[in-house]
Amino acid sequence: MTETVLIGQEPELQPEVDVSKIVPINRQSFGDKLRAYAKKPFSMILMLLVMLAALVTAAIVIFIVVYTLAQGIPNLKGALFAWNYNSDNVSMTYAIINTLFLAGMTIVIAAPIGVFAAIFMVEYAKSTNIFVKIVRMAAETLSGIPSIVFGIFGMIFFVGVLGWGYSMLAGIFTMVLMTLPLIMRTTEEALLAVPDSFREGSFALGAGKLRTIFVIILPSAMSGIISGIILAIGRVVGETAALIYTGGSSRRLAGGFMQSGATLAIHMYLLANEGLHVGEAWATAVVLIVLVVVINGLAEFVGNKLKKEY
């Protein structure tokens, strides 16, 4: 209720009204709701189904996480992080180092390509351009390809045709292909979120396109870009199918690009398949889940907290 008060005129004093006693016409009490549901039983059934589904989802998450933690944490002994792997003590140290190496190198290669491609798509190209449409289609196709198909391609091309053998390098390039669309999409979103006034202001001050992009736009979009890159790391850490026949599954420390080595996810697959180290496999699952959840959480944190409000 807004009252127009004319200048020079005293607003009419109204009798005191206890606002709290007024029942808003559009508010339902719990009883009202129950009565409405009694009249429309189908609505009530739907409501109950929705609640049930939410409950089931929550229960599933809690059950999986708690069960895994309960099975894994008691087995999470210091020996599992011993330097050497052997068939008695299935240490995951090598696997963790291999994972970090592979994920890191993947990002070193994939991040510039993905970010540059996104810069082209957002800052240079017109969306009606046929070339842009083809690139977009390619990115969508790439993001839909199942990881085993990446794996078989990596085995044919990197391992076979290029003759790299089962090696970190083959694994890295397979992962690059897999993470490229993710990095490009998140970067595109981040670039699009930078207001046009930033670009216009920069151009108006005489900056060239390149300077505008690197000095004005990229820093403003950095949080979104970094969060996308962290998500990509999470994808690599959790990946198995694409790496078995490219990065290889030998449990040793990959001493360089041309040596093969199992990542943590593959290490866990091998443990699960052998079936000899049930508890240790659970412990590895805990490490994997914690790693991925922390990585994804970090991505979200970076995306949200460092985001500047324009």
């Binding site: 198995t240 697959y269 699960a272 889940i289």
Partner: protein, 303 residues
């Protein structure tokens, strides 16, 4: 493109001196974009070029519709390569996972979008994110240790079955369905909901009869994305589905999916056997291409 080039040309004439860095970097950006096209083309070419000779030798019809999968491992010649049982296996498990995942995921999405109070949302959202982040190998192991014994004890059979795989994959696609559907429902203008309420509809009627139809394309997209994820899923499936190359009689029987076939035998396959596995990947690839096309068609229609 030509317009831009012309503009650039004019500018160069006007300013006489333009930083060559601009042009170089522009070319670098274009090259980065070209990498995407090159990647897809290379993947297609190498998979199909290796698949076609094998398909010719086996015969496309035989490959797709024969149920006999008996690879020639010793290299004695012969061997039969038919993936009909695996296509059926993939379809059964995909259907099963959708039957499990879609109702729960869709209704949870409705809950998240329209029922969930703010404090609860702050707990529910990270929980579904955790579900999305768990690696498939962990899902597989969880399935082997928990779901398989449960199915074996309650329903009989070996436990490694369509049912076990469907349950676990149904859970795996929950986060995809929830987040995409939730966004679709949230994107419906508030006036739809308010209008329905003003006409005397209950909250449920307003949501399910006005908002959900309006968000239909987004919800269908979420289901198709889930479908794509299930068809392509490998590690969790191979641990749970039993891997028999036979047609199943019931959902308690094991099957083998196309993905499982590849990952199981690629390690030691040679010659025609290897070609047959690559051809399996090609069939899988075609499935995924159809799905990607469907999604983009739906998006276009929605616009």
């Amino acid at each position: 493109m030509t317009e831009e080039v012309l503009q650039d040309g004019k500018e160069i004439k006007r300013q006489i001196k333009v930083d060559p860095k601009e042009l170089i970097m522009k070319i670098v950006f274009i090259i980065a974009a070209v990498v995407f096209i090159a990647a897809v083309v290379t993947i297609c070419v190498f998979i199909f070029v290796q698949a076609v000779p094998a398909l010719k030798e086996i015969g496309l019809f035989n490959f797709l519709f024969s149920s006999e999968w008996d690879p020639d491992v010793e290299g004695t010649g012969g061997g039969s390569y038919g993936i009909a049982t695996m296509i059926v296996g993939s379809i059964y498990i995909t259907a099963g996972a959708l039957i499990v995942g879609v109702p729960i995921g869709f209704l949870t999405a409705v809950f998240m979008a329209r029922y969930c109070p703010r404090p609860l949302y702050k707990v529910m959202k990270p929980m579904t994110n955790i579900l999305a982040g768990i690696p498939s190998i962990v899902y597989g192991y969880f399935g082997v240790r928990v779901i398989v014994p449960f199915i074996r004890d309650t329903f009989g059979g070996y436990g490694y079955s369509i049912l076990s795989a469907s349950l676990v994959l149904g859970i795996m696609i929950l986060p995809t369905i929830i987040s995409v559907s939730e966004n679709a429902i949230r994107a419906v203008p508030k006036s739809y909901y308010e209008g329905a309420l003003a006409l005397g509809a209950t909250k449920e009627r307003a949501i399910f009869r006005t908002e959900v139809p309006a968000a239909k394309s987004g919800i269908v997209t979420s289901i198709i994305l889930g479908l794509g994820r299930v068809i392509g899923e490998t590690m969790a499936v191979v641990m749970l589905c039993g891997n028999q190359t036979e047609f199943p009689d019931s959902i308690l029987d094991g099957v083998r999916t196309m993905t499982a076939n590849i990952v199981l035998e690629l390690g030691y396959a040679e010659g025609l056997h290897r070609g047959a596995l690559i051809a399996t990947a090609a069939v899988l690839f075609v499935f995924i291409l159809i799905i990607t096309l469907l999604v983009s068609l739906i998006r276009k229609k929605a616009k």
